[in-house]
Amino acid sequence: MKKLISIVLLFSFISFAFAQNATVKGVVKFSGEAPKPRLISMKADRQCDAIHGGKQVQAEDVVVNQNGTLKWVFVYVKEGVKGKYNPPSEPVVLDQQGCWYHPHVFGIMVGQKLEVRNSDPLLHNIHATPKKNKPFNIGQPVKGMKSYHTFDTPEIMVPFKCDVHPWMSAYAGVLDHPFYSVTNDKGEFEIKNLPPGTYTIEAWHERLGTQTQTVTVKAGEVKTIEFTFERKK
């Protein structure tokens, strides 16, 4: 078994080193006046409130970073990917902690395991309402519970909600390839290991809509692109 793994590792390293796959990276900017952060009060659920020491928590639907960029934008290759990609064996983890989802936006591959964890000593339910995949709704009444789920079809985006705490929301981008990224608190994203070719890249934001760009990358190239979202009035 160990042997097999090392052979696979070696092989993938070699193919990575020699194929010289490209990278697309950049930032997502926000133009205009940043909206006032929306604050969530958890007063009605005394347990959640206590975890946050009675303080309000800032909603993550529109997060404008200090440097004027946008957080939680899902950037992925919409068109142009050829070939089949197998999902990695390690699961994506969606954690519920402090009556909050971590992370708020994430990507996952078709067939890849999603592990939903409850790190709170209280009930959450994971209510996913996809359109193309099968919806599901799982209750996790106790701390430390884990549930697993896999998606069968690519779908942008699958919403998650906790009905017990209606403010809890998360989004998953389900793709049949690994070329996606989510912007961080500097607004940066990075899609690695792209084979040379021409791609349509889309940036998706839950409140501000989507934007696309077409890029062509050569072997070994690192391409930098930029998206700019405006607040819709």
Partner: protein
């Protein structure tokens, strides 16, 4: 159940299949109902254990649960969505499959032809069909346990929109569809049965068996059948409408403008309260469809074992008819806080209090029946007495719930859970047990073990009180029913300790049921052979062989000369005079 004495059989050749499986003989069909009912009783009981485990040990992983239930108890924690499925299936199975089909199906089929001196039902083929449709309903209901989204999980009352929107809870998906299909089949089966019971009772009585000489059991089954015929079609209509709402986008029960889990719901113009009216229009009579047969079996068994005539037979029959009639106009007492027109609420208070009138008469008559009797404690008799002991607190607590303002506080709390488990659930189960112990010798030609039966009784009687009596106080303190755990509120968490106690009692009572199961199946094969009339009873079924031959009687059907309960008639030699004994023989 392969004991069937052939010698008096009226020239009739049968293969194994026509005799035991697709049989048209009412006695075989009755036994099929009984065995299926017992199967469902076991399932319902196991479900109640799972609920009780959860309530006693919330948040405590029990690895064994994961072994049994798989993903419904990941990490040994029973899921809340599965708890809701448990209450739904437990309620449905117990009310419909055990105490409607199992109870009425068994004893209407078995007793009506035998006690009125008929050779079989009016429509034997229809009768067979009725069982097999019920069997199909059972298969569908059972299948729903094994599907991905789990069995129905919206409460046995199936209130929409929860039951109408497939996304509201996993059990509202395919599980609910199967539930509706199964219930539709079930209703068809009940209607076929009811039609048969009514026609048979009216037209197939033997010579001399006037309506005034019918045993109270036959009266009970007869009134029950009429109730079923009047109320079940309404639920069938409701179920079909709900299926349409779910599958074909109609909106009988779903109003416009709903948003479920953040997603808009594409329905418009329905009214959820309409379902509650349709459901309870059946649902309340259903309580009496369960209770009246139990009551009537108990009456018969009390008289036989007190060696006394049933006190005021005519009044008791009148009371049963009165209960049946009134039960059709009290359904609104389930809906005092539903948002129904409050004026209706006041009307239903009055009709509901009115129904306590015939009920009180019946209980009183039964008590007088054992007064100055010469009581014989067979297991059947103990269960009949236990029935009274359980029904009394059930009926009395009905007075609280009937009073609309008090019901504001008690509605949908554990007070209701305790109330209906006493009035209709466990008391009817006791009635059924009494019936099984009493007629077992006739049905299977063998006796059940007496000692085990008595042990079963005491385990059950004490167990039931310990389980359900404390629940009255949980309800008074405000604990709502259908709660997955009592951990979330101050006024519920005071009962966490009591819940452990109740759960232990539930397992003790459950262990007593194992005694019954063993006794039942063991006695079918190994019990002592039964005489024709082991209880020295007066009614017709005891005057033929045990078990009766195909066609029930020899070449001639019996002739009836007197009423059903001629026990301890002064001057008579024995303390009972069968209905078939001509009056002139009596030494007066």
């Amino acid at each position: 159940m392969a004991i069937h004495t052939e010698h008096t059989e009226v020239a009739h050749k049968q293969s194994f299949i026509t005799k035991y499986i697709f049989s048209t003989d009412h006695k075989t069909i009755a036994r099929q109902y009984l065995i299926t009912g017992i199967f469902w009783g076991v399932v319902g009981m196991i479900l109640s254990w799972l609920m009780r485990l959860q309530l006693a040990y919330p948040n405590q992983p029990m690895p064994i649960l994961e072994k049994i239930l798989g993903k419904w108890a990941e990490g040994g924690i029973l899921k809340p969505e599965f708890y809701v499925a448990l209450i739904t299936m437990h309620g449905t199975i117990m009310v419909f499959f055990l105490l409607t089909a199992g109870l009425s199906g068994t004893f209407s089929n078995y007793l009506i032809p035998l006690q009125i001196g008929a050779r079989d039902m009016a429509f034997p083929v229809l009768n067979m069909l009725s069982y097999w449709v019920f069997f199909a309903a059972s298969v569908v209901m059972l299948a729903s346990f094994f599907i991905q989204t789990g069995p129905a999980a919206v409460g046995w009352t199936f209130y929409p929109p929860l039951s109408a929107l497939k996304n509201s809870i996993p059990g509202a998906d395919l599980g609910a569809t199967l539930w509706l299909i199964s219930m539709a089949l079930f209703i068809v089966s009940s209607l076929l049965g009811a039609l048969n019971y009514i026609t048979t009772t009216l037209n197939f009585r033997t010579k001399g068996m006037s309506m005034g000489r019918l045993p109270i059991t036959v009266w009970g089954m007869f009134v029950t059948a009429i109730l079923g015929l009047l109320s079940f079609p309404v639920l069938l209509a409701g179920a079909v409408m709900l299926i349409f709402d779910r599958e074909f986008g109609t909106s009988f029960f779903v109003p416009s403008g709903l948003v479920l889990g953040g997603q808009p719901v594409p329905h418009e113009g329905g009214n959820p309260i309409l379902w509650q009216h349709l459901f309870w229009f059946l649902g309340h009579p259903e309580v009496y469809i369960v209770a009246i047969p139990a009551f009537s079996l108990v009456g018969e068994i009390l008289a036989t074992n007190a060696r006394k005539p049933l006190f005021a037979y005519k009044v008791s029959v009148g009371a049963i008819i009165g209960i049946g009639a009134l039960s059709m106009i009290v359904w609104g007492h389930h809906m005092y806080v539903s948002g129904m027109n409050p004026v209706l609420g006041e009307v239903f208070v009055i009709t509901t209090l009115a129904i306590s009138f015939p009920t009180a008469i019946l209980v009183f008559n039964y008590l007088v029946t054992i007064w100055r009797g010469n009581l014989r404690f067979t297991p059947a008799m103990l269960f009949a007495l236990g029935f009274l002991g359980l029904f009394i607190p059930g009926a009395l607590t009905g007075a609280f719930l009937a009073t609309a303002p008090v019901d504001i506080q008690l509605h949908d709390t554990y007070f209701v859970v305790a109330h209906f488990h006493f009035t209709m659930a466990t008391s009817a189960a006791f009635g059924m047990f009494a019936g099984v112990y009493h007629w077992f010798p006739k049905m299977f030609g063998r006796m059940m073990n007496d000692k085990l039966g008595k042990l079963h009784f005491w385990g059950s009687f004490i167990g039931v009180y310990l389980i359900f009596f404390p629940m009255f106080f949980q309800g008074i303190a405000g604990v709502p029913r259908r709660y997955y755990a009592f951990t979330e509120y101050n006024f519920t968490s005071q009962f966490l300790g009591l819940n452990k106690f109740i759960t232990i009692a539930a397992f003790v009572a459950g262990a007593a049921q194992l005694l019954f199961l063993f006794n039942f199946f063991w006695s079918i094969f190994k019990g002592k052979k039964a005489d024709k009339n082991p209880w020295k009873a007066t009614t017709l079924e005891w005057q033929t062989d045990s078990p009766p031959p195909h066609g029930n009687w020899g070449p001639e059907t019996p002739v009836v000369y007197r009423g059903p309960y001629e026990y301890s008639v002064p001057g008579a030699e024995e303390d009972y005079i069968p209905q078939t004994v001509p009056v002139k023989v009596e030494t007066k």
